[in-house]
Symmetry: C2
Subunit: 421 residues, 2 copies
Amino acid sequence: MKETFALKGNLLYTPACGQLEQHPQSYLVCENGQVAGIFAQLPERYQGIPVDDYGDKLILPGLVDLHVHASQYAYRGLGMDMELLEWLECNAFPEESKFADLAYARQAYGIFTDELTRSATTRACIFATLHRPATLVLMELLDRAGLPCFVGKVNMDRNSPDILRETTEQSLEETRLWLEQSGDFTHVRPMLTPRFIPSCTDELMDGLGRLQREFGVAMQSHLSENLSEIQWVSQLCPDTAFYGQAYERAGLFGGACPTVMAHCVWSGEAERALMKENGVFIAHCPQSNMNVSSGIAPIKRYLLEGQKVGLGSDVAGGAHLSLFRAMTDAIQCSKLRWRLVDQQTGALTLPEALYMATKGGGAFFGKVGSFEPGYALDAVVLDDSALPTTRPCTLAERLERVVYLSDGLPCAKYAAGRRLF
Amino acid sequence: MKETFALKGNLLYTPACGQLEQHPQSYLVCENGQVAGIFAQLPERYQGIPVDDYGDKLILPGLVDLHVHASQYAYRGLGMDMELLEWLECNAFPEESKFADLAYARQAYGIFTDELTRSATTRACIFATLHRPATLVLMELLDRAGLPCFVGKVNMDRNSPDILRETTEQSLEETRLWLEQSGDFTHVRPMLTPRFIPSCTDELMDGLGRLQREFGVAMQSHLSENLSEIQWVSQLCPDTAFYGQAYERAGLFGGACPTVMAHCVWSGEAERALMKENGVFIAHCPQSNMNVSSGIAPIKRYLLEGQKVGLGSDVAGGAHLSLFRAMTDAIQCSKLRWRLVDQQTGALTLPEALYMATKGGGAFFGKVGSFEPGYALDAVVLDDSALPTTRPCTLAERLERVVYLSDGLPCAKYAAGRRLF
C-alpha cells in the first residue's frame, strides 16, 4: 500500500443528508488509508506524492450495501412473480440448502465475490447461509478481494424446511465456533445473523444475545418487511407489542453493538422510537420491497426523524447488485409514496439517495462514506464518456446521468486506501 | 431481402395476454416478411432455405415502444428531482427549441436512432418537435435504419414558451405540408401529434381533426397523466366532463384512425368507457409515471376490462429506452398498486408484461408482436450467456433473467423480415 498518495478528478460527496459537495479537478489526498483532505492544488507538504490522475472522470465515495444475501445471487431475477413467503419456500430455501456442499459454495460465492468486486460497492453487510464452513469460504473470498465487509452465518431453528434447519443447540454451538474461527481475516468481520423472528426460537434468540455480549459483535436481521410476516411474528411472540420487541427482549436491538435491520416498511411509532433510541440502522431495500410486494418504506420521514438509514440491494429479493439502481429505486418509490400514501412528506432527492448509499450506510462501519478528513478512503472512479448526449452537463448533472443511466461499474476502486483495481 | 428463410433458436412469445408459448430449438420460418410458421423440424417444402442458426439463444418478437420523445433523448436521466410541469419548463421546452437548428437535430436524432437501432425495440410511436424540417430528418434517419416507426411533428400553439410555439395557422399549414412530404419513406409513417391539450387551442384541435379525416393518419398524444395537468385541462376546457373529451370533440379520439394515448394514470370510468368503445390504445409508461410523480396507472384492471394496452419508455420522462426495463417497472409498480391502492386487482406477471411489450403494443401497427402465422417477422435474438449462475434454468426462467438483468441489447434483430444486424 502506498502510504500517502492522491486521486485526482472531479470529486463528489455528501457530508450531510441532501448536501452535495462538488470539487471539480481536485486532489483527494490519502494518508494511511484515510482522507487527509481535498485540495485544488497539492500543498507543498504533498509535492511529489504519487497521483492517480483520472482526468475528467467522476470520483465518489465507495458505496455501502447494508443488506445483501450472497447465497441468493445465483437466482437473482428469478421467481419475481411470487410474494415473500412463497418466494422463500420456492427459491431461497432450496437454493440455500445447497451450501452444505463446499464445492458448490465456492463456485456460487466466487461468482458473487467477483460481481461485488466489479461493482461500485466497497462495503456490505452480507447474509451467508446457516452453514459455518461455507460461510468461512465466503469470508475468505471477500477477504482476498480486499472488501471490508461484515458477513453473517445465518441462524434458523424453526419454521424452515428439513434441508435448511438447525437445532437450537447446533445453531448456538456452530455460531460460537464460527465466531472463534473468524478472527484471522484482515478485512472481513463476522456479524450475528438470526434470519428473522419466524426462523428463530426464543431460546435461540436468547443464546445469540449472550453470544453478542460475550463477543461484542455487530448484528443484522429483517424487520417489519411484509404484512403477512408481521402478523406471523405477532402470533409467534404474543407477548410483544411490536416486531422489534422480539429482538429487543433478547438484547439484540442496537445499543452497545451496531445493529442493522433490513426493510422497516411497516414500522409503527413505538418501533421507530426504539430504533432511534438504540441507534438501530435501517437498510432500505426499495427494489426488493417492490418485487415481493411489501410496500414502500417511509424513508424520507425516517430521515426527517433522525433515523440512521442506508441502502440495501437485498439481492435476491432485489434483482440488482448495483446501489445506483437502489438509489433511483429509492427516489422513484418515494415519489409514489408521496403521490399515493403520504402527501405531507415529499420525495427523496438524488443528493439524499447518494447520502444514504455512502455516508448514511457507511456510518455502520465507522467513519466511512465521505471525503471529509479522517474518513476511510473508499472511492470509486466513474467514466461517463460512453453516455452520449448533445448537451453540456454540469458535474451534478453528470452524476445524475451516471446514477440513472450507467451500468454502475467503476473503472477504478479503492477501499480503506487500498486500490482494488 | 431473402424471401424465405428461417431463424433457429429458443422461441418465446405471447399469443394472448399472460400466455407464454415456448418452442425450444425450433425453426421460425419467414415468407415475404411474415411468419409462415414454427416447426420443430423444417418441413419438406422448406428444405434448403437459408437458416440463421442462433444455437441456444433466446428469440423473442421485436419490442414495441408506444411512446417515446426522440427529441428528449439527449437529456434522459436529468432533472429527475422535478415534477411534470416544472420539468417541462426547465428541461423539455428549452431542449426542444434547439431543433430549429437542422445540424443540431441531425446530431441529436442520430444519437437517438443509433440507440434505438441497438435496442430490442423494432417499432415505436415517436414524438419529434414542432419543427417540420427536423422531423423529416428524424424520419429519414429511422427510415434508413429500417425501423418501421410512426413519427409525429408536434403541434403546440399555446401555453408554451416563445421559443417553442406556433400560431394556429402555422401549426396547421406546417402539418399539412409535412404530411404531404412524408409519403416517400419506405418504413416510416407520419402520425398527428398534438402535444397535449394544454398546448393546443380548440381551433388547432379542430383543424387537426379535419386533417386526420382528410389524410387518414394515426394520432398520438398524452392523457390523464398527472393530477395538476388534469386540473389545468378542466380549466382550459370547462365544457368537457373529462380530459379525453377534449380530444373526442375534435374527432381525435380513436374510431377510424388508430389512436394512442400515453399514461392514462388517472382515467375515470367515463374516459375508460370511451377509450374502449373507440379502440384507443393506452401507452403505459411506468418509469416516467414514477419519475415525474404522476402515480401508478391501473394497468392490470385495464387489461381485465379489455382495453388495448402497450408499453412506452417515455424517454425522457423515463430515463431508459429499454422496454425490458419498462416491463419490470410495470410489474413492480403493479405490485405497489396492489399493496397500497387496490387490493382487489392483483399484480402484473412477466408473461403479461411481455404481451404488452410485444403483441399488445404491436396491434397498433397491425399484425405485429407475435410469432403466429401471418404476423410481421419482427424478432430479436438475446444472448444470456453473460449472466452467470450456478443454477440450471428453464426457458421461462432464462427469459425472466434476460428481462430483469441483461442490458437489453440483442445480438441480432429483424423487422418485417429484414435483418437489421
